[in-house]
Amino acid sequence: MPDDLNWAIGGEAGDGIDSTGKIFAQALSRAGRHVFTSKDFASRIRGGYTAYKVRTSVDRVESVVDRLDVLIALTERTIDENMDELHEGSVIIYDGERTTMQDVEIPDEMIGLEVPLQRLAEEAGGAIMANVVALGAACEVTNFPIANLDESLKKRFGDKGEAIVENNKEAARKGQQFVQEEYEQDDFGYDMETTDNDYVLLNGDQAIGMGALAAGCRFYSGYPITPATDVMEYLTGRIDQYGGKVVQAEDELSAINMALGAARAGARAMTATSGPGIDLMTETFGLVAQSETPLVICDVMRSGPSTGMPTKQEQGDLNMTLYGGHGEIPRFVVAPTTVSECFWKTVEAFNYAEKYQTPVFLVSDLAMAVTEQTFPPEEFDMDEVEIERGKVVDEGDLDSWTNEKGQFQPHFPAADGISPRAFPGTDNGAHMTTGLEHDALGRRTEDTEIRQEQVEKRQQKVETAREEEDWDYREYGNPDADTLVVSWGSNEGAMREGMEFLEEEGIDVRFISVPYIFPRPDLSEEIEQAEQTIVVECNATGQFADVIEHDVLERVDRVNKYNGVRFKADELAEAIEEAISEAEVTA
């Protein structure tokens, strides 16, 4: 058996699935094992199937696979839902004494582990701890030292008092002992090695929030929406420590306009939302660009269109962030490809926004937002964070940006397209800004020459940024391979692991993961060099593939997934293998 273990707990929403899963994931992470979690959840609070899945290994894990080794099933449906992923030798822990679970049938090739979760929990002090009993049982099954669980139980229940923590430890041990005694002859074949590493465990939304704080974000306004709400919840309270504030607005129209107001007042400001919310914000995209206000607008994508599937994955809003809004809007679109990149790209997003005074779309997706992953803390080395505020002028240097009448020119058409910013309160800097076309002073105009000059000025910022910044991609595999796979956003992990599966099949690929959608790296050479290019993305039409085809004037192949679930590594490898053989047939 490999050291790579896939574990899950599933039941009804409201059964404490999430927090139980989290306790286990944290215990693994504390024990120096890498963890990658994923969630199956429905758009309801109580009832409805939900599961928390943990993949763990001593090596870094960055994706999910179609395999479940140990499953804690709190309901019969949990077993049905996961049947595809269960295999010969999979262990299913369930409470056979529960009336709803009495007739559960475990397929012969699997191991059903009947543990009286509720009864043991009651013995330890309360039925509510049944899930923790199951965790204890899982420790025994997987040979994972149960002491590691204690720390995360303390973290979870610490503020409820020492007694509660002790009861939970006891509950876990009862589960462990039960398996030890009743299944003493069984060896489940797992050996969960631990290491001295101390990892941190966090998800993409939290990484975005942390990136915002590191980057000096002081104002966040948003309106709750899955799966972006975690960004707001993370920042709430924490941002206050640095003199900032989170404001829950009445809707997304308000959220983006408040953030814009704060940005004009000089704060680094951000808003985050998902599908329907980004639609509502669209009108203001243009205002942000036209008024040359720095703003980070985060879209954590979910399945659309309309309210679609709010708790499911999709990368369907790319066109929206690239093209959304009437008229022509200079903008940047940055799409982190891993959870830790969510942190770094957020920092970058704030820098681009302020240096170029234009909206920066930070595009993430549900798969990344809810996935918790382990990292060595150095991966978030705060000393590496640099803050660049661009051309901000004060009383001292304001003069060099005034006209012959001594008026400050906030929209001066500088050669690089970047004008000076004077924060309100700066002496002699008072000026007008508007979404209407305006002159260098910021005043409305319909003068054709000035119009043209200001349009060119704003577009020039993008050109300047193209030159000045590094819009590079990340690359894996064999640079000389015939097959080039390109993806963006959260597909990177699945693809990296998928390459291992492909390798086993003797298939060699070059893989490019693109975190910058606009401006983006020029892939012409890479595509020309390859015999076949396959673009992988979680949407039906291939929005990024379209963009690339447009760039290189060449057809690319597509691997798309749009059922609401992220790519799994093995499944993706298979799809790529198929795309390669199809290309061979047509060639």
């Binding site: 104002f219 004009r264 964070v385």
Partner: protein
């Protein structure tokens, strides 16, 4: 803040393109007077304007200013004030801007009670789009899009504000310039959201709610022995359908502005050039 600021310092050198006689001239002058009177300077003032003839005000005034998209001026103003509570923030717009497309924001800005001033230039018509019914138009007021009149009662913005927990609700008439300026000044001085609905006649598209009409009907609350701190009295005055009042309808002297409740005292503009000193603690939280 300097004491030698005059109201003309708040004037930009751009000539207004409002129709001659438009009520917005008087409204703006009163705002500038009030700003100067309260000791503000253009460099510590931020004016946010809506979209409409009224919204052009930001261009004709001199201060830090933003002229945004239709109906969203209030959220912008809230963002500005929260990010820098030292600024004097004034939001201005029309009745269409504030009570139609921006009605949701209006209610929520009132209840949020950020310390700023909101001046609505109420001409009971859409001016900039050339004469359609607005939310304050009379039920039978015939316009290009409502040939029989809107057939729905006008909104009562002061009642909305009172119901939403407003802490300062006033009504003025742009033509009574001194009184109007005083009321805006009181709104500025109020600790919280100061709301002033200004009758600001449109001489081009509204031949019903004219200067003559307001002059003939308006009653000053000072002559009515009105106690603005008495909410019941305020409610009665506000709901009296057939009277046009000027003056402070309601004022809550115990109002505490939102940003103060939230503990915001400093400008958020200053940040270090790297991550905060203790930023690694943010990472360690995830152990």
């Amino acid at each position: 803040m300097s004491s030698d600021v005059r109201f003309t310092d708040f004037k930009s050198d751009k000539q207004p393109t409002w129709c001659p006689g438009c009520g917005d001239f008087g409204t703006m002058n009163g705002m500038m007077k009030a700003l100067a009177e309260t000791g503000n300077s253009p460099d510590d003032t931020f004016v946010v304007a809506g979209i409409g003839c009224s919204g052009k005000i930001g261009t004709y005034m001199h201060s830090y200013a933003l002229h945004g998209v239709h109906g969203r001026a209030l959220p912008v103003g809230i963002g500005v004030k929260m990010a820098n509570p030292n600024l004097e923030v004034m939001v201005a717009g029309g009745d269409g801007d504030g009570y139609s497309i921006g009605a949701g924001h209006f209610i929520h800005a009132v209840r949020r009670n950020v310390d700023m001033t909101y001046v609505v230039m109420d001409n009971r018509i859409y001016g900039l789009t050339k004469g359609q019914a607005s939310p304050t138009s009379r039920e039978d007021f015939e316009t290009s899009t409502t040939p029989e009149g809107p057939q729905q009662p006008p909104v009562n913005p002061k009642a909305l504000a009172l119901a939403a927990g407003g802490t300062f609700i006033a009504q003025s008439f742009s033509s009574n310039s001194q009184r109007h300026a005083e009321l805006v000044q009181e709104a500025i001085e109020h600790d919280g959201f100061g709301f002033v609905n200004v009758y600001s006649p449109c001489v081009t598209f509204n031949d019903v709610d004219t200067y003559d009409y307001f002059r003939d009907t308006i009653v000053d609350l000072d002559e009515e022995d009105h106690d603005p701190t008495d909410r019941e009295q305020a409610k009665d005055k506000i709901l009296e359908g057939d009277k046009e009042y000027q003056g402070v309808l309601y004022r809550d002297d115990n109002s505490v502005p939102f940003e103060q409740r939230e503990g915001i005292e400093e400008s958020m503009a200053d940040i270090p050039d790297g991550a905060p000193e203790d930023a690694m603690d943010l990472v360690r939280e995830f152990y």
